[in-house]
Symmetry: C2
Subunit: 409 residues, 2 copies
């Protein structure tokens, strides 16, 4: 018997009418013989409403200062949605019941507001499935070994769905959302972007990390680790096809570019005239890490005078702090000049089979050159080529790369 | 050390500003050396909003058709309020944490939407109090022995507070509300109504049953059973005095009238020309009970022809159904004529020391006669005299009784 975990996001359950639509589809799938676990997010903007309420009561630092109570508060949103979804499914004549993260035994560590799943003890869910019931589970929330309510942070409901699918050894994990799949680029920026039919977990992680917003990389990583095939598809149409995320992508060895993603608000920092050697870059990275600043790339170059130059990319909103840290270090080491450049966009071209194909690298540079886009940093992995360009060139660069690499076809 | 259970109703925590006001008062009481358990209701109209949402998803019968999911849904409201209250108290520099009904071990039976408390295992609450923390507990909700979330139905949050006070052997149980205590009559109807300083549990149960809306009789009954003194007072003013509900009212033997309460929407039903004897009234009461119709009073009178006449009072909205049942029975027994009279108000005069004082009875009738109020039924108990009058005479009767019995003084 097929056992399917379906996740419906906030938009999909955003109104009573949409909840009834979801219920009709779930009931139809149940009648066709599927065992179903339904993971739901909070309705529409209701989580934002709770966040706003906490802000009015306790200020903008509420989540940091009261993490336990924050989780208690936010977990109410999924509780409301799951009870309503269960009612609507029962109204379709199908037995259904809802479980909180605690009742479904989504056991997490105790890191409130950003808990990690330790294990899913799905016996109670499995028991209800055996009785022929549809089980609705609150996304985004779990319970710590000390029986405290926790929330999973960003991408939480997707993570719940994939973790449940892994624990239940589900046939499939379906993520219903308000778009009809994952695209080769953001369709709002690249008009001829097209839906990807199939992509590997690792490629999607690269796309998500690079800024694609359909699915959080965290859930996909669990899918990769436990071999859970994930289908991302629209809750707004009948019989959607969507995008399949799977461990065995088609086309074993060929270059298969899957898509382009981008994110703005990036910046570059160059520190010149430093003592050369690993000690300098290590010290700089350590100090940045202590200040919780993430560095995307770091490259070292020797200058003509034998001194070293470090080039880093960071998020724009960390640039001022990073600059201060770099200047302090440069001063301590003698000399050192710091230059910064903000207002950059980071564009990642993601695909498998890039390794050992330097042609792709060269082709990327040529495409950007011909499109008149200046390039301020670059980084590569086995799965991606990432370039930093001025924000005002972002759309031109996206379109040029998308077209030239044949993603629109 | 004083251990106090405080309950704040929906109005008292209805806005972020009010939540902060509650937090300031709780923090001040904590600093003065009290151990505090705070029971909260859902904010303002938020429970009504959830009920409306369920109606939109599943229709007006949602609570009856999906009782388990209904409880899951409604329990979210208190969860939101308690987390926000905990944050606000912590913002005052006082350690605090919130517990759901389940975490606080409010164990109920499994009767969803109207569960009864079986026991309160308050160890976890007591442990946190010992650590010097303020404990916030969600009102209105509990957990069944099967670990299902339940709600307590009407008067639920008051019931949670009094049950916790009983289990913790609290020094005091304080019910904060938007009025400043319990009044001798509804101040909107009787302008010279005054606040009662002290009243016994049993008198208050009479008043609540008769229509006074400050506190639900269910919570007061638990207070009576476990000897919990309850103070009802305003959350909107500083240093409120309120009304103390206690087992040892002042003035041992004297007639002490505490107040008058009334409710509209009452009706009278008279069945004439029946076979006399207990069998007839028993049969009528059984049939009404099978139809879930509550009968307030029933009196039998022998008519001149030796036949019997039964007179009953019921709620107006059950009158049509009650009439049908009475007519069917009368037909089966031969003869029987049914007369009904709706549009009545039931007024109860409550106090201790009425037993053995027939003067009170006579005085009540005389007051109503002089006020020109017609009387359609009457019933008495050791604690009260209840009269049924036309709804349009309700205010005149209330004022006349209130004044004549000296309640305004």
């Amino acid at each position: 018997m097929r056992l399917v975990v379906r996740k419906y996001g906030g938009t999909s359950v955003g109104t009573p009418e949409r909840i009834r639509t979801v219920a009709r589809r779930v009931a139809a799938a149940h009648r066709s013989g599927e065992q179903l676990v339904i993971v739901v997010s909070a309705m529409g903007d209701s989580t934002d409403d709770l966040v706003a309420l906490a802000g009015q009561v306790s200020g903008s630092e509420a989540s940091r200062r009261h993490p336990r109570e924050w989780d208690m508060l936010l977990s109410a949103g999924e509780r409301i949605a799951m009870a309503l979804v269960a009612m609507a499914i029962r109204d379709q004549g199908v037995e259904a019941l809802s479980f909180t993260g605690s009742q479904a035994a989504i056991v997490t560590d105790g890191a409130h507001t950003a808990a990690r799943i330790l294990e899913v003890r799905a016996e109670r869910v499995r028991e209800e499935l055996r009785r022929g019931r549809v089980v609705i589970v609150a996304g985004f929330q779990g319970v710590s070994p000390e029986r405290e309510v926790t929330t999973l942070g960003r991408g939480g409901s997707d993570t719940t769905a994939v973790a449940l699918a892994a624990a239940l050894r589900a046939t499939a994990c379906e993520i219903y959302t308000d778009v009809d799949g994952i695209y080769t680029a953001d369709p709002r920026r690249v008009p001829d972007a097209r839906r990807i039919r199939e992509i590997s977990h690792t490629e999607l992680v690269e796309l998500a990390t690079a800024g694609a917003q359909v699915m959080h990389s965290r859930a996909v990583e669990i899918g990769a680790r436990y071999g859970v095939d994930i289908r991302v598809l629209s809750s707004l149409v009948d019989a959607p096809e969507g995008t399949l995320i799977t461990r065995t992508p088609q086309g074993m060895e060929e270059l298969a570019l899957s898509g382009i993603a981008s994110s703005r608000g990036q910046a570059r920092l160059v520190v010149r005239d430093l003592p050369p050697g690993l000690a300098t870059s290590t010290e700089l990275l350590s100090r940045l890490a202590s200040a919780a600043i993430s560095v995307d790339t770091i490259t070292e170059a020797l200058e003509a005078n034998g001194r070293s130059q470090l080039q880093l990319t960071v998020a724009q909103d960390a640039l001022g702090q990073a600059r201060g840290i770099a200047e302090q270090l440069a001063g301590q080491l003698g000399g050192g000049r710091v230059e910064t450049l903000g207002g950059l966009a980071r564009i990642a071209l993601v695909g498998s089979g890039m390794t050992g194909r330097p042609g792709v690298y060269a082709q990327t540079f040529r495409i950007l050159l011909e499109a008149g886009v200046s390039l301020h940093a670059v980084s590569t992995s086995s799965m991606s080529i990432t370039v930093w360009v001025p924000e005002q060139s972002e759309t031109v660069a996206l379109e040029a790369l998308h077209r030239a690499f044949g993603l629109a076809e």
